[in-house]
């Protein structure tokens, strides 16, 4: 029967019940499938997807082309092996069966069942202790499809059935006492990936993006790349490398910054270390001192903001000792963090660029004095930075970020000193 194209025609052509069942079982709309008939022609039906074909049993094919079957019942993959006559069950025929399967379909549908069936039939063919046969069986897996590409895929056991199948092959090898060789390892790596953990991105901008999303507390944070690494030619004609600047800020941080008192300065602090497996990157913060308790305003809830339920209740209820779920510790108020950034060169010029980039979305930064508190020792600092309008003094060298503020520079802006001497430390 020549290739038929639509479902109706197939029914009319009088195909076997098995085929019809398969077609009807696959739930409707817009999927493609390939079925084989006995004459080795691929029938393409536009209703079934390739994905579902994996779980469906593929009708048996004969190794020797003259044999034909009437596929009246659901045929399993094992039939492929069973069709080989008893006398000729050798390694060569086993390999031939595998070849038939791999050549039949470029997408290798149903390979998991095929491999399970093959594992079971190995002892009949007498090849269960042969490493080359196992390698050939591993070759049946399509390569590079199951390699996890990001940490979410890796976390959720990407393609678990295939992984289980691979483990089953290895387990059978182990029970027969066969040592895998380099080829096995190469195959496994090609199929399932180098490690189950994808490598960190090499590109610094990507790495910065990944780490900033990791340390941001808010899923709504947006990453902005203010500058990509490039070379720039200055007036004197020399080439300088401009570093990448990647920043992150969430909408709630933007709100907090908008509410910040313009008389109080904001600090650019850094660089702080962040370890990602074996690499250490550094990030910078834009933050402010915590507001002292006397200046804290109570947030007034607008009752018309939400009509579904009241935002404030005036009830005087207390929790019993057995229901109290909070720990008896004082809350640490360390001041709000407004934005974070990562850059390879942490000097004031680069950070100024970051601030000016932030200023586009947060106009208050133009009015608020910004202090730079950068650690010496890790980055090279400019000897004397030019004071810019609205920005303050050159970086204060510190050995560790945790030094108490009172030890710091006497050259700070005067309003700073008076405020800082009172333990309003961060």
């Amino acid at each position: 029967m020549k290739s038929t194209r639509c479902l109706l025609q197939l029914v009319l052509s009088g195909r076997t019940a098995a085929r019809i069942n398969e077609l009807l079982l696959s739930p409707a709309t817009s999927r493609l499938s390939v079925l084989h008939n006995q004459q080795q022609q691929a029938l393409r039906h536009f209703r079934c997807s390739p994905a579902s074909a994996k779980s469906r049993p593929v009708p048996a094919r004969s190794v020797d082309e003259d044999k034909t079957n009437s596929t009246k019942s659901l045929a399993t993959q094992e039939d492929l092996f069973e069709q080989v006559p008893e006398e000729s069950k050798t390694k060569a025929t086993f390999n031939q069966v595998i070849d038939v399967f791999t050549k039949r379909d470029i997408r290798r549908r149903g390979h998991v069942e095929f491999i399970y069936a093959a594992l079971k039939k190995m002892s009949e063919f007498g090849v269960e202790k042969d490493l080359s046969v196992y390698n050939k069986l591993l070759d049946v897996f399509p390569k590079e499809v199951f390699v996890p590409r990001n940490y979410i895929q890796r976390m959720f056991n990407h393609y678990p059935r295939q992984q289980e199948c691979g483990v089953q092959i290895l387990e059978q090898m182990e029970s027969y006492g066969i040592m895998p060789n380099v080829e096995t390892k190469v195959l496994l790596v090609q199929i399932f990936g180098e490690k189950s953990h994808p490598p960190l991105p090499e590109d610094p901008v990507d790495l910065a993006r990944l780490s900033l999303t990791r340390i941001a507390n808010d899923l709504d944070s947006k990453i902005t790349v203010y500058q990509l690494p490039c070379t720039d030619i200055t007036e004197s004609g020399e080439e300088i490398q401009l570093p990448h600047i990647v920043g992150i800020q969430s909408p709630s941080q933007m709100e907090l910054l908008a509410k910040h008192n313009p008389n109080k300065p904001v600090f650019v602090e850094g660089p702080f270390p962040l370890w990602l497996r074996k690499t250490c990157v550094h990030y910078y913060l834009l933050r402010a001192d915590p507001t002292p308790p006397e200046e804290k305003e109570e947030e007034v809830y607008d009752p018309e903001r939400c009509f579904d339920y009241p935002l404030q209740l005036d009830l005087d209820l207390d929790r019993d000792l057995g229901d109290d779920e909070s720990f008896d510790v004082d809350d640490l108020d360390e001041g709000p963090v407004f934005a974070m950034c990562m850059t390879s060169q942490g000097d004031q010029v680069t950070l100024n660029q970051w601030i000016s980039g932030l200023q586009q979305n947060n106009p208050i930064l133009g009015k608020v004095p910004t202090l730079f508190r950068l650690d010496a020792g890790i980055q090279e600092l400019q000897a004397a930075a030019q004071p810019e309008p609205g920005h303050s003094h050159p970086p204060h060298p510190e050995t560790q970020r945790e030094d108490p503020q009172s030890d710091e520079d006497p050259e700070a802006v005067e309003e700073e000193e008076s405020r800082r001497s009172h333990g309003m430390k961060q």
Partner: protein, 304 residues
Amino acid sequence: MSLPKISRVPASRLLSAVHDPRWPLRSAAPLAVPKRALTQSGYRRPGQPREDKPPWQRIKFDFSKGLEGITKHFKLLRQEFSDRLVGPEGKPIIEHMLEQNRVIWEFRGPDSLQEWTLSSDREIGGQSEIHLKLGKNNETCFLYGTLQSAPPRDGETRYSGYCSMRSKQPLVSFDRKKHHDWSSFNTLHLRIRGDGRPWMVNIAAESYFTHQKDDLYSYFLYTRGGPYWQDVKIPFSKFFLTHRGRIQDNQHPLWLDKVNTIGFTLGDKADGPFQLEIDFIGVCKDYAHTEDFAYEVYKRNPEV
């Protein structure tokens, strides 16, 4: 028997004694076999000679320190008696029965740092360092240092590079051991701010047999890094049993009625500086957590 009877000398002694000109004169003193078994004598750095002093020779006597000690211990004893009058463990009984959260360690002053011991692989000859100080505003503890995983060149050690902070065993008057009783809780709650490195939390419980001395119950502590604080809640049912660093096959849950110490270890083979800030460590009772133990208790390789 024509041959004279030659005294048997162990082979190791022969080797070491080849260089010793006084060999014939030395009496058969114990050479390299310690009197106490290996597990009891504590760690001996490879290359250092073994000390075999009998216990009575190890005590040092000092009068003024002795007087201080006596006053301190009697004060503690008096405190203990008065605590019993208030209720179990010094709290009224209703509080002891109903409490859902208890803050065990809180770093709010320099005295809180005295409860902790630091150790790194410097003791075995490595180059890692670890230091502890109070964080900003004296409100948190700041653990920092450098990790170096180059093993010391003493011929014996193969791996190195670890740093750890461990709480001291709580003591009652006269240096008697006191145990933490966390049997009414089931979760460990930590508020930390790390730098992205993976740490390990180890809990040591009181054991009966001496070969259980190095039993630790561990679990991982992955820090996120960044400027925000991280609340970590680890149920006690997730802690698995390790002995001297090796995970054991026969697992059992941690018994919470006699907990001795808790510790944090870093050994992630990434050389470089590290830091960890801890705000407080507490235990709480999570009613939603009903698991007894997270790992299989049946025998994995049963003998038939």
